[in-house]
Symmetry: C2
Subunit: 209 residues, 2 copies
Amino acid sequence: MYKRYSLPLLLLLASFSCSLGYSANRDAAIIAEHRQHLKLDHAKIARELVHRANWASVGSISTNEIVKDYPMVNIIAIDDNDANNSSTGKIHFLLTDLDFTGPDWQSNNKVTFLFSDEQTLNCKNANKDPMEPTCARTIISGQVKRLPEDTPSYKASLQDFIKRHPAAANWIPEHHFYLCELDIQNIFVLDFYGGPHNVKPADYYAIQL
Amino acid sequence: MYKRYSLPLLLLLASFSCSLGYSANRDAAIIAEHRQHLKLDHAKIARELVHRANWASVGSISTNEIVKDYPMVNIIAIDDNDANNSSTGKIHFLLTDLDFTGPDWQSNNKVTFLFSDEQTLNCKNANKDPMEPTCARTIISGQVKRLPEDTPSYKASLQDFIKRHPAAANWIPEHHFYLCELDIQNIFVLDFYGGPHNVKPADYYAIQL
C-alpha cells in the first residue's frame, strides 16, 4: 500500500526519466505493469489465496493471562473445499479450547485471518519480498461461527476437512476439536502499489475458481 | 498443545496396547520420540525459527475504522542478522504509517509476532500438518521500539536489513519507513505435544546459533 501513483503520473515520470537518460524499456514495463494492475480482480485474488493456502495466521484478542489483551496470532489449518475438492470460499477450521484461539473467540468474537502468496513461496520464487505490495495478501476479519454438530452437513464438511488435513482425524476425538466457519465481515486485498482494496463478501463468494 | 501425556503414561499405554495386539515397534517409536522431545531446547528452536524466517505474521489492535478494535494481522519483513549475517535474536523490522501496523502500535503498543516452521515449507516437506504441534512455532509478544535514527548503529542495522531485504531500499525514501526492534515481553514455543513452553527473553538471547 506504499506507492500511490496514477497512470498520468507514471507517464509523466516516464517522459521525465527518459529525458534523464533512463531506459525507455523500463518505463514501458512499469506502465504495462500498471495497466495490468487495473485489470486485477481483487475478489478473485482473495479467493485464490484462500484456496491455495492450507493454513492462516489467525489473530484474536488474547485471554491468556500472561499476554491478556494482546493480539494473539496462531497458525490454524483451513479448508474451503466442497466434496469435489472445488473451492467454495467458505473458510472452515477446527478449534479446541485447549489452544489459544479457542478460548479467545468465546471471550471476544473478533478474529482476523491473514493469507499471503508467500505461504506457498510464490513471492520468493518470483524474487519478490514478502512485504512488497505486489506479493499478494488478503486480510479477512469476522466472527467465528461454531457449526452445529448434529447435522448431516457438519459430518460432510468435516469429511472434506479431513480429506485435506488427514492429521485432523486424530485431533478431533482426543482433544474436543469442533468445526467452525468464518462469518466474514471485511476483506482487504493488497495486490499492487496504491493501498488496500475492499472486497464485498458477496463478490468474494460469487467468484468461480 | 493438544496431547498431554507423561513418559510413565506412555509406557503404560505401550504395554497395554501390546496386549491388545498393537505393534511394539510403533510403541517403541512413540517412546523414542517422546524421549527425544525431553531434550528439545525450546529457546534454540525459537531462535532458529526467527532466524530462518524472512517475515512474521504480526498482530496488532486495529485502529482502521472499518475493523476498529479487531486484531489486525499483517505480513512484516524481519531480520535478526548482524553485519556478518549471524543471528542476534533481535527482531528488526520496517514500519510505515501508511500501512496497518504503523498507526496501530502507536495507539496501543501491544504486538505479537508468529513464526512457524511452515513458512519455509519444512512441515509440508516432512509431511506434517501446519497445525500439528510438532510443526514448530513460536509466538513472541512485546512492544514496538522505534530506533533513534541519528545514531551510527541505526545506519548499520538498516544496512543489515537491506542486505536481507534489498527491496526495502526503495521503500524507505518513498514512504517514510522507520526501523524498529521488538522489545520482547513473552515467548511461547510449541514444538511437540503437551502444550506451549515459556522461554525467558534472556535465555532466548543467550543462544548461539
